[in-house]
Protein backbone atom coordinates (compact mmCIF):
# COMPACT_ATOMS: atom_id res chain seq x y z
CA UNK A 1 0.00 0.00 0.00
CA UNK A 2 1.44 3.36 -0.87
CA UNK A 3 1.48 6.43 1.30
CA UNK A 4 -1.42 8.76 0.65
CA UNK A 5 -0.72 11.07 -2.22
CA UNK A 6 0.49 14.21 -0.55
CA UNK A 7 -0.72 17.40 -2.16
CA UNK A 8 2.05 19.69 -3.21
CA UNK A 9 3.07 21.37 -0.01
CA UNK A 10 3.26 24.75 -1.60
CA UNK A 11 -0.32 24.47 -2.81
CA UNK A 12 -1.44 23.35 0.60
CA UNK A 13 0.39 26.14 2.37
CA UNK A 14 -0.90 28.86 0.10
CA UNK A 15 -4.38 27.40 0.14
CA UNK A 16 -4.50 27.41 3.93
CA UNK A 17 -3.24 30.96 4.24
CA UNK A 18 -5.90 32.11 1.80
CA UNK A 19 -8.52 30.18 3.72
CA UNK A 20 -7.36 31.70 7.00
CA UNK A 21 -7.53 35.26 5.72
CA UNK A 22 -10.89 34.59 4.12
CA UNK A 23 -12.13 33.13 7.41
CA UNK A 24 -11.10 36.19 9.36
CA UNK A 25 -12.82 38.48 6.89
CA UNK A 26 -15.98 36.41 6.72
CA UNK A 27 -16.31 35.51 10.38
CA UNK A 28 -16.53 39.12 11.50
CA UNK A 29 -19.65 39.47 9.41
CA UNK A 30 -21.51 36.97 11.60
CA UNK A 31 -23.16 37.81 14.88
CA UNK A 32 -26.43 38.43 16.70
CA UNK A 33 -26.52 42.10 15.76
CA UNK A 34 -28.18 42.60 12.42
CA UNK A 35 -25.37 44.36 10.54
CA UNK A 36 -24.90 43.87 6.81
CA UNK A 37 -21.54 42.35 5.83
CA UNK A 38 -20.70 45.27 3.59
CA UNK A 39 -21.20 47.63 6.52
CA UNK A 40 -18.95 45.42 8.64
CA UNK A 41 -16.13 45.54 6.13
CA UNK A 42 -16.54 49.22 5.52
CA UNK A 43 -16.27 49.87 9.24
CA UNK A 44 -13.10 47.82 9.49
CA UNK A 45 -11.65 49.60 6.49
CA UNK A 46 -12.45 52.87 8.19
CA UNK A 47 -10.56 51.85 11.32
CA UNK A 48 -7.63 50.79 9.18
CA UNK A 49 -7.54 54.23 7.64
CA UNK A 50 -8.59 53.06 4.19
CA UNK A 51 -11.98 54.68 4.08
CA UNK A 52 -13.04 58.09 5.31
CA UNK A 53 -16.41 57.33 6.87
CA UNK A 54 -17.99 54.68 8.98
CA UNK A 55 -21.48 53.72 7.78
CA UNK A 56 -22.88 52.50 11.09
CA UNK A 57 -23.89 53.97 14.43
CA UNK A 58 -21.37 54.50 17.21
CA UNK A 59 -22.57 51.40 19.06
CA UNK A 60 -22.51 49.16 16.04
CA UNK A 61 -19.07 50.47 15.23
CA UNK A 62 -18.04 49.39 18.72
CA UNK A 63 -19.65 46.00 18.22
CA UNK A 64 -17.66 45.44 15.06
CA UNK A 65 -14.32 46.89 16.10
CA UNK A 66 -14.28 46.21 19.83
CA UNK A 67 -16.17 42.93 20.02
CA UNK A 68 -16.08 40.99 16.80
CA UNK A 69 -12.66 41.78 15.36
CA UNK A 70 -10.66 41.09 18.55
CA UNK A 71 -12.72 37.99 19.18
CA UNK A 72 -12.00 36.53 15.74
CA UNK A 73 -8.31 37.34 16.16
CA UNK A 74 -8.26 35.68 19.60
CA UNK A 75 -9.92 32.63 18.09
CA UNK A 76 -7.28 32.42 15.38
CA UNK A 77 -4.46 32.78 17.89
CA UNK A 78 -5.91 30.30 20.36
CA UNK A 79 -6.62 27.75 17.64
CA UNK A 80 -3.14 28.05 16.16
CA UNK A 81 -1.46 27.92 19.55
CA UNK A 82 -3.42 24.94 20.85
CA UNK A 83 -2.84 22.99 17.64
CA UNK A 84 0.89 23.70 17.84
CA UNK A 85 1.09 22.66 21.48
CA UNK A 86 -0.88 19.50 20.81
CA UNK A 87 1.42 18.50 17.97
CA UNK A 88 4.52 19.11 20.06
CA UNK A 89 3.15 17.16 23.02
CA UNK A 90 2.30 14.21 20.78
CA UNK A 91 5.85 14.20 19.42
CA UNK A 92 7.55 14.62 22.80
CA UNK A 93 5.56 11.93 24.54
CA UNK A 94 5.36 9.70 21.43
CA UNK A 95 1.71 9.31 22.28
CA UNK A 96 -1.02 10.09 19.75
CA UNK A 97 -3.51 10.82 22.50
CA UNK A 98 -1.47 13.60 24.01
CA UNK A 99 -2.94 17.09 24.09
CA UNK A 100 -1.67 20.42 25.40
CA UNK A 101 -3.26 19.85 28.78
CA UNK A 102 -1.43 16.62 29.52
CA UNK A 103 0.87 18.03 32.14
CA UNK A 104 -1.87 19.31 34.37
CA UNK A 105 -2.07 22.69 32.68
CA UNK A 106 -5.80 22.98 32.13
CA UNK A 107 -6.74 21.45 35.47
CA UNK A 108 -4.37 23.87 37.19
CA UNK A 109 -5.66 26.82 35.20
CA UNK A 110 -9.25 25.92 36.04
CA UNK A 111 -8.39 25.68 39.72
CA UNK A 112 -6.69 29.07 39.64
CA UNK A 113 -9.58 30.65 37.80
CA UNK A 114 -12.18 29.21 40.17
CA UNK A 115 -10.23 30.34 43.21
CA UNK A 116 -10.10 33.90 41.92
CA UNK A 117 -13.76 33.85 40.93
CA UNK A 118 -14.94 32.58 44.28
CA UNK A 119 -12.71 35.05 46.07
CA UNK A 120 -14.64 37.80 44.35
CA UNK A 121 -12.00 38.77 41.79
CA UNK A 122 -13.94 37.62 38.74
CA UNK A 123 -12.29 40.22 36.52
CA UNK A 124 -8.87 38.81 37.36
CA UNK A 125 -9.71 35.23 36.42
CA UNK A 126 -7.11 35.14 33.60
CA UNK A 127 -4.36 35.99 36.07
CA UNK A 128 -5.55 33.25 38.39
CA UNK A 129 -5.69 30.82 35.51
CA UNK A 130 -2.15 31.53 34.44
CA UNK A 131 -0.84 31.21 37.97
CA UNK A 132 -2.72 27.94 38.37
CA UNK A 133 -1.30 26.56 35.14
CA UNK A 134 2.23 27.51 36.14
CA UNK A 135 1.81 25.96 39.58
CA UNK A 136 0.42 22.74 38.12
CA UNK A 137 3.26 22.52 35.65
CA UNK A 138 5.85 23.03 38.37
CA UNK A 139 4.18 20.40 40.49
CA UNK A 140 4.10 17.97 37.60
CA UNK A 141 7.81 18.44 36.98
CA UNK A 142 8.49 17.92 40.67
CA UNK A 143 6.57 14.67 40.67
CA UNK A 144 8.38 13.59 37.50
CA UNK A 145 11.72 14.14 39.21
CA UNK A 146 10.56 12.22 42.26
CA UNK A 147 9.59 9.37 39.98
CA UNK A 148 13.13 9.29 38.70
CA UNK A 149 13.56 11.72 35.83
CA UNK A 150 11.91 13.22 32.78
CA UNK A 151 10.90 10.40 30.52
CA UNK A 152 7.68 10.61 28.51
CA UNK A 153 5.97 7.89 30.49
CA UNK A 154 6.79 9.44 33.84
CA UNK A 155 5.79 12.88 32.68
CA UNK A 156 2.41 11.60 31.53
CA UNK A 157 1.82 9.79 34.80
CA UNK A 158 2.80 12.83 36.80
CA UNK A 159 0.56 15.02 34.67
CA UNK A 160 -2.40 12.71 35.13
CA UNK A 161 -2.03 12.66 38.88
CA UNK A 162 -1.61 16.43 39.14
CA UNK A 163 -4.64 16.94 36.89
CA UNK A 164 -6.71 14.64 39.04
CA UNK A 165 -5.65 16.49 42.17
CA UNK A 166 -6.40 19.90 40.70
CA UNK A 167 -9.77 18.75 39.35
CA UNK A 168 -10.73 17.35 42.72
CA UNK A 169 -9.76 20.59 44.42
CA UNK A 170 -11.78 22.56 41.87
CA UNK A 171 -14.82 20.36 42.36
CA UNK A 172 -14.53 20.69 46.10
CA UNK A 173 -14.35 24.47 45.91
CA UNK A 174 -17.35 24.58 43.62
CA UNK A 175 -19.33 22.36 45.94
CA UNK A 176 -18.28 24.28 49.01
CA UNK A 177 -18.59 27.87 47.97
CA UNK A 178 -20.47 28.36 44.76
CA UNK A 179 -23.87 29.87 45.09
CA UNK A 180 -26.41 30.87 42.56
CA UNK A 181 -25.16 31.84 39.19
CA UNK A 182 -21.47 31.34 39.77
CA UNK A 183 -22.00 27.69 38.77
CA UNK A 184 -22.77 28.94 35.31
CA UNK A 185 -19.69 31.10 35.08
CA UNK A 186 -17.45 28.28 36.26
CA UNK A 187 -18.98 25.80 33.84
CA UNK A 188 -18.49 28.21 30.99
CA UNK A 189 -14.84 28.56 31.99
CA UNK A 190 -14.30 24.82 32.30
CA UNK A 191 -15.73 24.23 28.86
CA UNK A 192 -13.82 27.09 27.32
CA UNK A 193 -15.32 30.28 26.02
CA UNK A 194 -13.99 33.20 24.01
CA UNK A 195 -16.75 35.62 24.84
CA UNK A 196 -15.71 38.94 26.26
CA UNK A 197 -12.44 38.92 24.31
CA UNK A 198 -11.06 42.42 23.95
CA UNK A 199 -8.16 43.95 22.05
CA UNK A 200 -5.64 43.40 24.85
CA UNK A 201 -6.52 39.71 24.78
CA UNK A 202 -6.01 39.60 21.02
CA UNK A 203 -2.60 41.21 21.31
CA UNK A 204 -1.58 38.87 24.14
CA UNK A 205 -2.69 35.74 22.35
CA UNK A 206 -1.22 36.63 18.98
CA UNK A 207 2.05 37.81 20.47
CA UNK A 208 2.40 34.64 22.55
CA UNK A 209 1.53 32.38 19.65
CA UNK A 210 3.94 34.10 17.31
CA UNK A 211 6.87 34.66 19.67
CA UNK A 212 6.70 31.24 21.25
CA UNK A 213 5.52 29.50 18.12
CA UNK A 214 8.27 30.61 15.77
CA UNK A 215 11.19 29.08 17.70
CA UNK A 216 9.15 25.91 18.16
CA UNK A 217 8.56 25.75 14.43
CA UNK A 218 12.31 25.75 13.90
CA UNK A 219 12.67 22.61 16.00
CA UNK A 220 10.56 20.62 13.55
CA UNK A 221 13.40 18.56 12.17
CA UNK A 222 14.69 17.69 15.62
CA UNK A 223 11.20 16.61 16.61
CA UNK A 224 11.25 14.12 13.74
CA UNK A 225 14.33 12.57 15.32
CA UNK A 226 12.23 11.65 18.34
CA UNK A 227 10.20 9.27 16.23
CA UNK A 228 12.26 6.25 17.18
CA UNK A 229 13.13 7.04 20.74
CA UNK A 230 15.70 8.93 22.76
CA UNK A 231 18.75 6.90 21.75
CA UNK A 232 18.07 7.29 18.06
CA UNK A 233 17.49 11.02 18.50
CA UNK A 234 20.70 11.42 20.46
CA UNK A 235 22.65 9.52 17.85
CA UNK A 236 21.41 12.00 15.27
CA UNK A 237 23.01 14.83 17.17
CA UNK A 238 19.93 16.08 19.03
CA UNK A 239 20.46 17.28 22.61
CA UNK A 240 17.55 15.24 23.87
CA UNK A 241 17.14 16.47 27.46
CA UNK A 242 17.67 20.12 26.58
CA UNK A 243 15.33 20.07 23.62
CA UNK A 244 12.71 18.26 25.62
CA UNK A 245 12.85 20.79 28.46
CA UNK A 246 12.79 23.73 26.08
CA UNK A 247 9.84 22.41 24.16
CA UNK A 248 7.94 21.43 27.29
CA UNK A 249 8.58 24.84 28.74
CA UNK A 250 7.49 26.61 25.58
CA UNK A 251 4.35 24.50 25.32
CA UNK A 252 3.49 25.06 28.95
CA UNK A 253 3.98 28.80 28.68
CA UNK A 254 1.93 29.15 25.53
CA UNK A 255 -0.81 26.85 26.78
CA UNK A 256 -0.91 28.75 30.05
CA UNK A 257 -1.50 32.03 28.24
CA UNK A 258 -4.13 30.52 25.95
CA UNK A 259 -6.04 28.82 28.73
CA UNK A 260 -5.96 31.89 30.89
CA UNK A 261 -7.82 33.78 28.18
CA UNK A 262 -10.05 31.15 26.63
CA UNK A 263 -10.53 28.54 29.31
CA UNK A 264 -9.99 24.84 28.78
CA UNK A 265 -11.04 24.48 25.14
CA UNK A 266 -10.74 20.83 24.29
CA UNK A 267 -10.17 18.73 21.19
CA UNK A 268 -8.34 21.32 19.13
CA UNK A 269 -4.89 20.32 20.35
CA UNK A 270 -5.77 16.64 20.06
CA UNK A 271 -7.57 16.45 16.74
CA UNK A 272 -5.95 18.97 14.42
CA UNK A 273 -2.50 17.28 14.30
CA UNK A 274 -4.13 13.97 13.39
CA UNK A 275 -6.14 15.48 10.56
CA UNK A 276 -3.07 17.21 9.19
CA UNK A 277 -0.98 14.05 9.42
CA UNK A 278 -3.43 12.27 7.16
CA UNK A 279 -2.71 14.83 4.47
CA UNK A 280 0.96 15.62 4.98
CA UNK A 281 2.52 12.78 6.94
CA UNK A 282 4.53 13.16 10.11
CA UNK A 283 7.39 15.37 9.05
CA UNK A 284 7.22 18.10 11.67
CA UNK A 285 8.67 20.77 9.47
CA UNK A 286 5.41 20.60 7.59
CA UNK A 287 3.13 19.29 10.30
CA UNK A 288 3.74 22.13 12.76
CA UNK A 289 2.92 25.13 10.57
CA UNK A 290 0.05 23.41 8.77
CA UNK A 291 -1.45 22.41 12.12
CA UNK A 292 -1.30 26.02 13.26
CA UNK A 293 -3.11 27.21 10.15
CA UNK A 294 -5.79 24.56 10.34
CA UNK A 295 -6.19 25.09 14.09
CA UNK A 296 -6.75 28.80 13.55
CA UNK A 297 -9.36 28.23 10.86
CA UNK A 298 -11.15 25.58 12.88
CA UNK A 299 -11.29 27.78 15.95
CA UNK A 300 -12.55 30.84 14.06
CA UNK A 301 -15.52 28.93 12.69
CA UNK A 302 -16.23 27.05 15.91
CA UNK A 303 -16.38 30.32 17.78
CA UNK A 304 -18.54 31.89 15.08
CA UNK A 305 -20.95 29.01 15.49
CA UNK A 306 -20.84 29.32 19.27
CA UNK A 307 -21.87 32.95 19.20
CA UNK A 308 -24.23 32.94 16.22
CA UNK A 309 -26.04 29.61 16.00
CA UNK A 310 -28.43 30.25 18.83
CA UNK A 311 -28.39 34.03 18.92
CA UNK A 312 -28.99 35.89 21.18
CA UNK A 313 -27.79 33.02 23.32
CA UNK A 314 -24.15 32.07 23.43
CA UNK A 315 -22.64 28.65 23.87
CA UNK A 316 -19.21 28.04 25.35
CA UNK A 317 -17.02 27.31 22.34
CA UNK A 318 -15.67 24.15 24.00
CA UNK A 319 -19.03 22.52 23.36
CA UNK A 320 -18.74 23.14 19.63
CA UNK A 321 -15.16 21.92 19.39
CA UNK A 322 -16.16 18.75 21.22
CA UNK A 323 -19.26 18.18 19.11
CA UNK A 324 -17.28 18.56 15.91
CA UNK A 325 -14.02 17.15 17.21
CA UNK A 326 -15.24 13.81 18.49
CA UNK A 327 -16.78 12.53 15.22
CA UNK A 328 -13.79 13.80 13.27
CA UNK A 329 -11.50 11.89 15.60
CA UNK A 330 -13.40 8.70 14.92
CA UNK A 331 -13.14 9.30 11.17
CA UNK A 332 -9.41 9.90 11.48
CA UNK A 333 -8.98 6.65 13.39
CA UNK A 334 -10.89 4.78 10.72
CA UNK A 335 -8.66 6.25 8.06
CA UNK A 336 -5.56 5.25 10.02
CA UNK A 337 -6.78 1.67 10.14
CA UNK A 338 -7.38 1.64 6.43
CA UNK A 339 -3.94 2.95 5.71
CA UNK A 340 -1.99 0.31 7.62
Amino acid sequence: MTATQRPTLLTLGIGLWVLLLASVVLAVAFGPADIAPSEVWQTIAHHLGLVADTPVSRLRDAIIWDLRVPRVLVAAGVGAGLALCGTVMQALTRNPLADPYLLGLSAGASLGAVVFLLAGAALLMPVGAFMGAAAAMAFTLLVTQVLGGATPARAILAGISVSALASAATSFLIFWSATGDSYREILSWLMGSLSGAVWSDAVTVLAATIFIGLPVLLSGRALDAFAFGDNAAASLGVDVPRLRWLLLGATALLTGVLVSIGGAIGFVGLIVPHVVRLATGSRHRVLLPVSMLLGAIFMIWSDTAARSLFAPRELPVGIITALIGAPIFILVLVRYRRMT
Partner: protein, 263 residues
Protein backbone atom coordinates in the same frame (compact mmCIF):
# COMPACT_ATOMS: atom_id res chain seq x y z
CA UNK B 1 45.46 5.19 15.74
CA UNK B 2 42.40 4.44 13.66
CA UNK B 3 39.26 2.68 14.66
CA UNK B 4 37.47 2.62 17.97
CA UNK B 5 39.54 2.38 21.14
CA UNK B 6 37.69 1.83 24.40
CA UNK B 7 40.12 2.10 27.26
CA UNK B 8 39.51 1.29 30.95
CA UNK B 9 35.96 2.56 30.84
CA UNK B 10 33.96 2.48 34.04
CA UNK B 11 30.33 3.47 34.38
CA UNK B 12 28.27 3.56 37.54
CA UNK B 13 24.54 3.96 37.90
CA UNK B 14 22.56 4.12 41.09
CA UNK B 15 25.63 3.27 43.14
CA UNK B 16 26.21 0.11 41.19
CA UNK B 17 29.24 -0.39 38.93
CA UNK B 18 27.95 -1.53 35.56
CA UNK B 19 31.19 -1.33 33.61
CA UNK B 20 34.40 -1.88 35.51
CA UNK B 21 37.45 -1.03 33.47
CA UNK B 22 36.31 -2.15 30.04
CA UNK B 23 38.85 -2.12 27.25
CA UNK B 24 38.29 -3.22 23.68
CA UNK B 25 39.19 -2.16 20.18
CA UNK B 26 37.35 -2.24 16.88
CA UNK B 27 39.40 -1.79 13.73
CA UNK B 28 38.18 -0.28 10.47
CA UNK B 29 37.40 -2.80 7.80
CA UNK B 30 36.32 -5.31 10.44
CA UNK B 31 33.05 -6.42 11.97
CA UNK B 32 33.67 -6.46 15.71
CA UNK B 33 31.12 -8.33 17.79
CA UNK B 34 30.32 -7.69 21.46
CA UNK B 35 28.85 -10.70 23.19
CA UNK B 36 27.98 -11.55 26.76
CA UNK B 37 25.03 -12.61 28.91
CA UNK B 38 22.09 -10.35 29.52
CA UNK B 39 22.82 -7.64 32.00
CA UNK B 40 26.53 -7.75 31.29
CA UNK B 41 26.52 -4.12 30.24
CA UNK B 42 26.51 -4.31 26.44
CA UNK B 43 23.82 -1.66 26.00
CA UNK B 44 25.52 0.59 28.52
CA UNK B 45 28.74 0.42 26.58
CA UNK B 46 26.90 1.20 23.35
CA UNK B 47 25.25 4.22 24.93
CA UNK B 48 28.60 5.38 26.26
CA UNK B 49 29.99 5.57 22.74
CA UNK B 50 27.05 7.83 21.89
CA UNK B 51 27.91 10.18 24.68
CA UNK B 52 24.70 9.24 26.50
CA UNK B 53 26.47 7.81 29.47
CA UNK B 54 28.92 9.67 31.68
CA UNK B 55 32.16 7.85 32.17
CA UNK B 56 33.32 7.50 35.72
CA UNK B 57 36.70 6.54 34.37
CA UNK B 58 38.46 5.80 31.11
CA UNK B 59 38.21 7.05 27.57
CA UNK B 60 36.58 6.23 24.29
CA UNK B 61 38.46 7.41 21.21
CA UNK B 62 37.67 7.08 17.57
CA UNK B 63 40.43 7.72 15.06
CA UNK B 64 42.26 9.35 17.93
CA UNK B 65 39.46 11.82 18.78
CA UNK B 66 37.67 11.77 22.13
CA UNK B 67 34.22 10.61 21.13
CA UNK B 68 32.02 11.50 24.15
CA UNK B 69 33.63 14.93 24.42
CA UNK B 70 32.93 15.81 20.82
CA UNK B 71 30.11 18.27 20.07
CA UNK B 72 27.10 16.11 19.43
CA UNK B 73 26.50 17.24 15.85
CA UNK B 74 30.08 16.52 14.90
CA UNK B 75 29.82 13.14 16.55
CA UNK B 76 26.61 12.44 14.62
CA UNK B 77 28.43 13.14 11.36
CA UNK B 78 30.99 10.43 11.93
CA UNK B 79 29.16 7.81 13.99
CA UNK B 80 25.71 6.27 13.68
CA UNK B 81 23.67 4.07 15.97
CA UNK B 82 21.07 1.40 15.25
CA UNK B 83 18.87 -0.33 17.79
CA UNK B 84 16.28 -3.01 17.47
CA UNK B 85 13.84 -1.32 15.13
CA UNK B 86 11.21 0.25 17.32
CA UNK B 87 7.62 0.87 16.49
CA UNK B 88 6.54 4.38 15.95
CA UNK B 89 3.22 6.14 15.84
CA UNK B 90 4.63 8.51 13.30
CA UNK B 91 3.35 8.31 9.76
CA UNK B 92 6.67 8.39 8.01
CA UNK B 93 7.48 7.00 4.62
CA UNK B 94 10.60 4.91 4.08
CA UNK B 95 12.20 7.88 2.41
CA UNK B 96 11.39 10.07 5.43
CA UNK B 97 12.95 7.57 7.80
CA UNK B 98 16.19 7.40 5.88
CA UNK B 99 16.22 11.19 5.52
CA UNK B 100 16.28 11.40 9.32
CA UNK B 101 19.89 10.33 9.01
CA UNK B 102 20.67 13.64 7.33
CA UNK B 103 19.57 15.69 10.33
CA UNK B 104 23.13 16.23 11.58
CA UNK B 105 23.96 17.81 8.22
CA UNK B 106 20.92 20.04 7.85
CA UNK B 107 20.81 23.50 9.31
CA UNK B 108 17.72 24.73 11.10
CA UNK B 109 17.02 27.23 8.36
CA UNK B 110 17.35 24.81 5.50
CA UNK B 111 13.92 24.46 3.99
CA UNK B 112 14.35 21.41 1.77
CA UNK B 113 16.86 18.56 1.53
CA UNK B 114 20.02 19.48 -0.35
CA UNK B 115 21.41 17.59 -3.29
CA UNK B 116 23.93 15.91 -0.97
CA UNK B 117 21.05 14.81 1.22
CA UNK B 118 19.13 13.29 -1.68
CA UNK B 119 22.27 11.60 -2.89
CA UNK B 120 23.08 10.11 0.50
CA UNK B 121 19.53 8.84 0.96
CA UNK B 122 19.41 7.25 -2.47
CA UNK B 123 22.78 5.62 -1.86
CA UNK B 124 21.67 4.30 1.51
CA UNK B 125 18.46 2.83 0.13
CA UNK B 126 20.44 1.13 -2.61
CA UNK B 127 22.95 -0.29 -0.17
CA UNK B 128 20.15 -2.04 1.72
CA UNK B 129 18.43 -3.05 -1.51
CA UNK B 130 15.27 -1.08 -0.86
CA UNK B 131 15.29 1.56 -3.55
CA UNK B 132 11.76 0.70 -4.68
CA UNK B 133 10.40 1.14 -1.19
CA UNK B 134 10.88 4.87 -0.92
CA UNK B 135 7.21 5.81 -0.87
CA UNK B 136 6.00 2.96 1.28
CA UNK B 137 4.75 3.80 4.74
CA UNK B 138 7.21 2.61 7.36
CA UNK B 139 4.43 1.06 9.39
CA UNK B 140 3.39 -1.22 6.53
CA UNK B 141 6.81 -2.85 6.17
CA UNK B 142 7.83 -6.19 7.62
CA UNK B 143 10.18 -6.45 10.59
CA UNK B 144 13.11 -7.28 8.38
CA UNK B 145 12.41 -4.44 6.02
CA UNK B 146 12.07 -2.01 8.90
CA UNK B 147 15.42 -3.10 10.31
CA UNK B 148 17.15 -2.70 6.98
CA UNK B 149 15.60 0.75 6.79
CA UNK B 150 17.04 1.66 10.18
CA UNK B 151 20.41 0.55 8.89
CA UNK B 152 19.83 2.66 5.81
CA UNK B 153 19.11 5.61 8.05
CA UNK B 154 22.39 5.06 9.79
CA UNK B 155 24.14 4.72 6.43
CA UNK B 156 22.67 8.02 5.26
CA UNK B 157 24.74 9.62 7.99
CA UNK B 158 27.76 8.39 5.98
CA UNK B 159 29.43 7.34 9.20
CA UNK B 160 32.90 5.97 9.68
CA UNK B 161 31.73 4.26 12.88
CA UNK B 162 28.61 2.12 13.04
CA UNK B 163 27.40 1.01 16.46
CA UNK B 164 24.54 -1.47 16.60
CA UNK B 165 22.75 -2.85 19.66
CA UNK B 166 21.29 -6.30 18.98
CA UNK B 167 19.66 -5.24 15.74
CA UNK B 168 18.60 -8.69 14.59
CA UNK B 169 17.03 -10.27 17.65
CA UNK B 170 13.46 -10.21 16.47
CA UNK B 171 14.00 -11.03 12.81
CA UNK B 172 13.53 -14.27 10.96
CA UNK B 173 16.56 -16.18 9.74
CA UNK B 174 16.64 -14.78 6.23
CA UNK B 175 16.36 -11.23 7.48
CA UNK B 176 19.08 -11.81 10.06
CA UNK B 177 21.53 -13.15 7.53
CA UNK B 178 20.76 -10.41 5.04
CA UNK B 179 21.29 -7.68 7.61
CA UNK B 180 24.56 -9.09 8.87
CA UNK B 181 25.88 -9.61 5.35
CA UNK B 182 25.05 -5.99 4.70
CA UNK B 183 26.98 -4.87 7.75
CA UNK B 184 29.88 -7.00 6.76
CA UNK B 185 30.03 -5.39 3.35
CA UNK B 186 30.00 -1.93 4.99
CA UNK B 187 32.92 -2.98 7.10
CA UNK B 188 34.77 -4.21 4.05
CA UNK B 189 34.14 -0.83 2.46
CA UNK B 190 36.18 0.75 5.22
CA UNK B 191 33.80 1.45 8.11
CA UNK B 192 34.41 0.47 11.71
CA UNK B 193 31.47 -1.64 12.86
CA UNK B 194 30.78 -2.55 16.50
CA UNK B 195 27.87 -4.88 16.92
CA UNK B 196 26.32 -6.24 20.14
CA UNK B 197 24.91 -9.69 19.47
CA UNK B 198 22.85 -12.20 21.33
CA UNK B 199 23.12 -15.15 19.00
CA UNK B 200 26.58 -16.68 19.34
CA UNK B 201 26.43 -18.64 16.10
CA UNK B 202 25.67 -15.53 14.12
CA UNK B 203 28.53 -13.81 15.90
CA UNK B 204 30.80 -16.67 15.00
CA UNK B 205 29.69 -16.64 11.37
CA UNK B 206 30.06 -12.97 10.63
CA UNK B 207 32.39 -11.24 13.07
CA UNK B 208 36.09 -10.76 12.45
CA UNK B 209 36.77 -10.04 16.11
CA UNK B 210 34.75 -10.89 19.21
CA UNK B 211 34.90 -9.24 22.62
CA UNK B 212 33.24 -10.99 25.55
CA UNK B 213 31.69 -8.76 28.21
CA UNK B 214 31.12 -10.44 31.57
CA UNK B 215 30.71 -8.96 35.01
CA UNK B 216 31.38 -5.47 33.73
CA UNK B 217 34.73 -6.40 32.17
CA UNK B 218 35.96 -7.62 28.81
CA UNK B 219 37.29 -11.03 29.68
CA UNK B 220 38.74 -11.74 26.25
CA UNK B 221 38.90 -10.38 22.71
CA UNK B 222 40.09 -12.09 19.59
CA UNK B 223 39.08 -14.02 16.49
CA UNK B 224 35.99 -16.21 16.94
CA UNK B 225 37.95 -19.48 16.83
CA UNK B 226 40.09 -18.31 19.72
CA UNK B 227 37.33 -16.80 21.79
CA UNK B 228 34.53 -19.31 21.42
CA UNK B 229 35.98 -22.17 23.45
CA UNK B 230 34.00 -24.62 25.56
CA UNK B 231 35.88 -23.30 28.57
CA UNK B 232 34.86 -19.67 27.98
CA UNK B 233 31.29 -20.69 27.30
CA UNK B 234 31.13 -22.65 30.50
CA UNK B 235 32.60 -19.82 32.58
CA UNK B 236 30.60 -17.00 31.08
CA UNK B 237 27.36 -18.58 29.90
CA UNK B 238 27.25 -21.65 32.14
CA UNK B 239 26.55 -23.94 29.20
CA UNK B 240 28.21 -27.11 28.05
CA UNK B 241 29.14 -26.81 24.37
CA UNK B 242 30.75 -28.74 21.58
CA UNK B 243 32.52 -26.48 19.07
CA UNK B 244 32.39 -27.69 15.49
CA UNK B 245 33.76 -26.27 12.25
CA UNK B 246 31.64 -25.00 9.34
CA UNK B 247 32.51 -27.26 6.38
CA UNK B 248 32.83 -24.35 3.94
CA UNK B 249 33.92 -21.29 5.90
CA UNK B 250 35.85 -22.93 8.67
CA UNK B 251 34.15 -20.71 11.20
CA UNK B 252 33.15 -22.15 14.58
CA UNK B 253 29.67 -23.59 14.99
CA UNK B 254 28.42 -24.05 18.52
CA UNK B 255 26.40 -27.12 19.38
CA UNK B 256 24.91 -26.82 22.84
CA UNK B 257 24.80 -29.97 24.89
CA UNK B 258 21.49 -30.10 26.69
CA UNK B 259 21.86 -30.55 30.47
CA UNK B 260 21.00 -34.18 31.41
CA UNK B 261 18.02 -34.85 33.63
CA UNK B 262 20.12 -36.49 36.28
CA UNK B 263 22.07 -33.28 37.05
Amino acid sequence: MSGLAVSEVSVTAGGKMILDGVSLSALPGQLTGLIGPNGAGKSTLMRATLGLQTLAHGSIRFDGADLPAMPRRDRAKISAFVEQSGTTESHLSAQDVVMLGRIPFQSVWQATPSRDDEHAVAGALEAVNMTGFADRLYQTLSGGEQQRLQIARALAQQPRLLVLDEPTNHLDVHAQLTALALLQSRARAGATVLLALHDLNLAAAFCDSLAVLHGGKVVTQGVPEAVLTPGMLRDVYAVDTSVLRHPMTGRPILAYNAPSNSD
